[in-house]
Amino acid sequence: MSIATVETVAHGRKRSARRRRVVIGVLATLIVLAFAATLMIGKTFYPPGDVVRVILGENVPGASFTVGRLRLPRAVLAVVAGACFGLAGVTFQTMLRNPLASPDIIGISSGASAAATFAIVMLSLDKTGVSVFAIVAGLAVSLLVYVLAFKDGVVGTRFILIGIGIAAMLDSLTTYILDQAAEWDVQEAMRWLTGSLNGTKWSEVVPVVIALLVIAPVLLSQAGNLTMFQLGEDTASALGVRVDRTRLVAIVGAVGLIAFATAAAGPIAFVAFLSGPIAARLVGPNGSLLVPAALVGALLVLVADFAGQFLFGTRYPVGVVTGVLGAPYLVYLIVRTNRVGGSL
């Protein structure tokens, strides 16, 4: 073998690694900038100095309440929930080799929403109770879809189609419950249907941060194995990947992220679905998308929430904004998949 060939190989590898580093760096910078902007900008503008002092724990009249109690938890939740959605979505999409295989399409988010609505309207549970209910339901629905889709192994398309069917059933259940609900419950339940960061409290943010800190490293440790799933499960297995174990870890981890993030912020529409494909466009096809997709998710939620609050005459919840972005992409993807057959 010639040295020139080795250099060609090393060169190509370094080029895609460099592109990946640049994309991750740029995304991280944009997140920091957007995060800072959401803390400063609002009905009242606070200069960076005030914001920093609030974060460091000093008491700044006015700013301590507005930035420390209102804007900061909201922005932190936007980042961590967005990262959860992005990471969970791309995990499913990579594992099942299909961009439609996102938890918000295949019923997991619908399950959490239906359960939350039920808990609010029928059981009148408090916030913690509703969250627990939603997390358990999300896990239960994904288990149900998995069991129904399992037949000599899990095939992506079957998993997705069964998930879409289950999602439709759960959505009609939600509509039925809302129809029975008292007016004040409907408002609370709506948060669970669109996704919103309004009135975020630290007590809601902390569980999501913990979930991300625990689950993300586990998923990232499987990043290499998950990337092998892109070659098909037979090839992955032939290359030494323990396919069943990786799939189990990926499903449990991703559903856990979705459930915790949904419990705090509602199913912010299409973030899980959009982040992976956007990340794939940015970093190219040659490597794991887990970290870039998590960053895209965080940025998407931060920016969409900011836009929903200030860009329009009225304030819209973040899920409305991401829904407007995501729906046309879903249509595009289905049209294109019919033509060429899709993969992430």
Binding site: M1, S2, T5, V6, T8, V9, A10, G12, R13, S16, R97, D152, S221, G224, T227, M228, Q230, L231, G232, D234, T235, S237, A238, L239, G240, V241, R242, G284, P285, N286, G287, G342, S343, L344
Partner: protein, 271 residues
């Protein structure tokens, strides 16, 4: 550079659901040789290959790699000794040739480990052996069928296993590319002593390229041995239900099977 590994199948029974596909099969794969598995459609050729490479657990019986049950060995350890190229592997959209070939290094890499010089060298050697160096930076989806198959073989070569199993590596290829792929595998066998096992559809190409032929008929071993002994009219009839004449291939000196249909009779032959 290759160490001889033994691959044995003992009383192996395989199946999906209630259907048995392979029934109490015994075989030995000769080390350092090219073995071709032939048989009619649905006779269990691919199923056997999948099980030998640990993708399908046996219902009963065992697959032994160097005397150890392959289904009980750690998956990465097996993947460093035994490689498999499935019949229709999937290339992710937009992936480049060198990246795809590089994925063959997966069993040699530890979690979170960096790429080593050895990895780059293995990929480079695989590209050169398959004459795909010029394609290194091209997306796999832009390649022709023959080029793509060479790239997949390059991926399997980058895995650097002493045993390589291939499931119908020549299907969907034009005849020139079929010969090219088989020549390439023969080069590999000659230069590194790699043990090669392939499922082939074409009996004559199998007889020409293989040192050892295995003929399966409905999940059982019908015959195994050198092509001269296996490719005879009796076996062809038992395996495919086809009358045939076997002559000596003037090009290679190997047996060449000529099918006899209802409209053509064998002129000057026994049957």
């Amino acid at each position: 550079m290759t160490t001889a590994h033994s691959l044995l199948v003992e009383e192996l029974t395989l199946g999906y659901k209630d259907r048995a596909v392979i029934d109490s099969l015994d075989l030995a794969i000769p080390a350092g040789q090219i073995t071709a598995i032939v048989g009619a459609n649905a006779c269990g050729k691919s199923t056997l290959l999948r099980s030998m490479s640990r993708l399908l657990a046996p219902r009963s019986g065992r697959v032994l790699l160097d005397g150890k049950e392959v289904h009980r060995l750690p998956s990465k350890q097996v993947a460093r000794t035994l490689g498999l190229l499935p019949q229709s592997p999937i290339a992710p959209e937009g992936i480049t040739v060198s990246n795809l070939v590089g994925r063959g290094r997966h069993p040699h890499q530890k979690m979170l480990s960096r790429w080593s010089k050895e990895d780059d060298e293995a990929v480079a050697a695989a590209l050169e052996a398959t004459r795909t160096v010029e394609l290194a930076d091209r997306p796999v989806d832009e390649l022709s069928g023959g080029q793509r198959q060479r790239v997949w073989i390059a991926m399997a070569l980058a895995q650097r296993t002493d045993l390589l199993l291939l499931d119908e590596p020549t299907t969907f290829l034009d005849v020139n590319h079929q010969v090219e792929v088989l020549d390439l595998l023969t080069d590999l066998n000659h230069s590194s002593g790699t043990t090669i096992v392939l499922v082939l559809h074409d009996l004559n190409l199998a007889a020409r390229y293989a040192d050892h032929l295995i003929a399966l008929a409905s999940g059982r071993l019908h015959a195994a041995g050198p092509p001269e002994e296996v490719l005879v009219p009796e076996t062809v009839h038992a395996v495919f239900g086809l009358h045939s004449q076997v002559i000596t291939d003037p090009t290679s000196g190997k047996p060449l099977m000529l099918p006899i249909g209802r409209h053509h009779n064998a002129v000057g032959a026994g049957r």
